[in-house]
Symmetry: C2
Subunit: 362 residues, 2 copies
């Protein structure tokens, strides 16, 4: 598809992958998936290259992450990396990024993708993307809806009605993270899908939708476009001036939920949002005892553990005796030990390090 | 006591403190006790200095450990360190060491001490040592018997009869590690004490006892003494020639159990043979949740853990969330995670590393 462009949202920060993730080295820049040498961002790009040339990929990150992000993409020299002057949720990111793409290609069809998800079946992913991009080309903003394989209270869901064309359904509504009971109903019904955060749209359609539903954002984008005609310095200055004035709102809440027509392409491709070390364990190849361990680990009567040596030397002997279901994460300057089922609580460690002012560990 | 000498047995190797202990850096050369900056050997020496000047302290180690042992004792320049050409259990060590001491001081009273034990109440220890040395000065080989504070199946016991003088009892017999049931009986009886492996004797008495009970050892010692009259090179060569011929036998089995008269000084001074990481945890100062952790550890809902950062940089953030009763031991090139109650199984890690030929980790 000649006009297919990618807008990759790579400004995320977070604490759930401490000690691997740090303020200046967030999850998307790390090879979180066990056995992978690519960062999640690199994987995201490589995964779409068969359908979207590097020149048509735009990565939007944060000012603080710009250098690290560029450095991590040295294998993709033609990918464009830009930085928001400050983080303002997904609506400004998508609005600005879409405008940048539209400037180069007014007929662009954009796939807006998170940079930090994992996809197991890449062929199935690309088939779904082609279907969704085809739907978007016809007009409607289109999302990928992930077929639930478990009741899941951690994701927003999309309710879909009947098919409007093969593999494409009309979205009825977006629903917030459901209760456990509701999540089970949703899974049984076959009409609900997880909101993957992957959107497909004509750039012109999205910019019009923003003009209607987020006029302040549209006005800010227009100022930047006007400044850009005076050259890159003026554009840069205007972008810095505009961003702090933009609404701090998500694209779901600010635009998607207000659109009259949305299509959803149900898909199943081994998707994970890689939300915690527990999720990282799920992505690994377990040994007979359920351990997902980096090479060289010595495991004696140990089961169900995730063992990652993310230190730069990687010559550490990590030995476990008689422990089960732990995450053990080693970096050059830190070590984490936490039960898999409590992996979400890693943020408490980060909070404690903040309290102690341990800047070099954050 | 003018003629009191110390013979410190520091040739031990072992695997129970991996990854801190290695072939070339065994337990006695490490600061195993949490909060201590001294190695166990340094502590052993410092503890006796008030009653035994450096010049009268002889450390016997193994050839392989000679340099490391000397280096670790730089604070005690007048202590003599010698190395057995090869390890031959405790009888040759004590026989040879005692002969070396007797050569310098024929009237020597010797305290033979392990180098890798921990003593909490050093004043009580020194009081017991003075009593035992006094008993030995009067003739009988004398041991320190530790007052049991629990039934203990891991130590040999000494049965004692009535006092022969204040605080000194006659030993009836040595018994091997008892069953659990027997150990409880022993503790109840008040007549059994743990064999601490600390012996006190006149050098002349021990050398005579060796002549009677281990004549081969006595013969070997005599050859070394004769060679020594021709100078240090001849002595060194003869020592190397003699050692392989010496009986591989413990002083308990070879001599102590055969003596007709042995005294035992019952004592209580917070003794530990520091047999595993579990014992190291017991020596530490626990926080309110029972954690013994090096400074800087981040503990979130963690209890009963031992956390040691023995890496040279010591600037690692070690974070535990929601785990209990683990030993977590970090060094420059290794990490161990094991439940405290399974700390003895660390040897299995060492066995596995041997199997893999991981020489740099052994």
């Amino acid at each position: 598809m000649e006009h297919l462009h990618a807008l990759i949202m790579a400004g995320g920060t977070g604490t759930r992958f401490w000690p691997a993730s740090r303020r200046e080295r967030p999850k998307q820049l790390l090879p979180i998936a066990p056995g992978s040498k690519e960062s999640l961002l690199e994987s995201t790009i490589r995964r779409i290259l068969p359908m979207c040339a590097e020149e048509r990929i735009l990565v939007v990150t944060g000012q603080r992450l710009l250098d690290a992000t560029r450095a991590s993409l040295s294998a993709f020299p033609k990918v464009t990396v830009v930085a928001e002057p400050l983080a303002r949720n997904t609506a400004p990111c998508i609005g600005w990024g879409t405008a940048l793409i539209a400037r180069r290609d007014p007929r662009a069809i954009v796939m807006a993708l998170p940079s930090d998800h994992h996809v197991k079946d890449e062929a199935a992913f690309r088939a779904a993307v082609e279907r969704a991009a085809g739907s978007a080309e016809a007009g409607p903003v289109t999302t990928l809806g992930i077929q639930p394989n478990r009741p899941e209270t951690g994701f927003g869901h999309i309710e879909a009605s009947d098919e409007v064309s093969p593999g494409v359904r009309r979205a009825v509504r977006f629903v917030e993270k459901p209760t456990r009971e509701r999540a089970e109903e949703y899974m049984q019904s076959g009409r609900y899908f997880w909101n993957s955060g992957m959107f497909f749209y004509r750039a012109s359609v999205m910019l019009e939708a923003i003009a209607v539903h987020l006029p302040e954002l549209a006005k800010g984008i227009a100022r930047i476009e006007t400044a850009a005609q005076r050259g890159p310095d003026a554009e840069d200055a205007e972008t810095r001036a505009v961003f702090p004035t933009l609404p701090n709102i998500s694209i779901d809440y600010g635009v998607m939920e207000k659109l009259e027509l949305i299509h959803v392409v149900p898909a199943e491709f081994g998707w994970s949002d890689v939300g915690s070390w527990q999720a990282a364990w799920e992505l690994g190849s377990p040994d007979a005892a359920g351990n997902v361990a980096d090479a060289g680990a010595v495991l004696v009567d140990a089961s169900g553990n995730l063992v990652r040596d993310l230190s730069s030397r990687k010559r550490r002997a990590i030995a476990l005796v008689g422990v089960r279901d732990l995450c053990i994460i080693e970096t050059d300057d830190a070590l984490l030990v936490v039960p898999r089922e409590r992996a979400q609580e890693v943020r408490k460690v980060v909070e404690e390090l903040e309290r102690r002012g341990a800047e070099d560990k954050l």
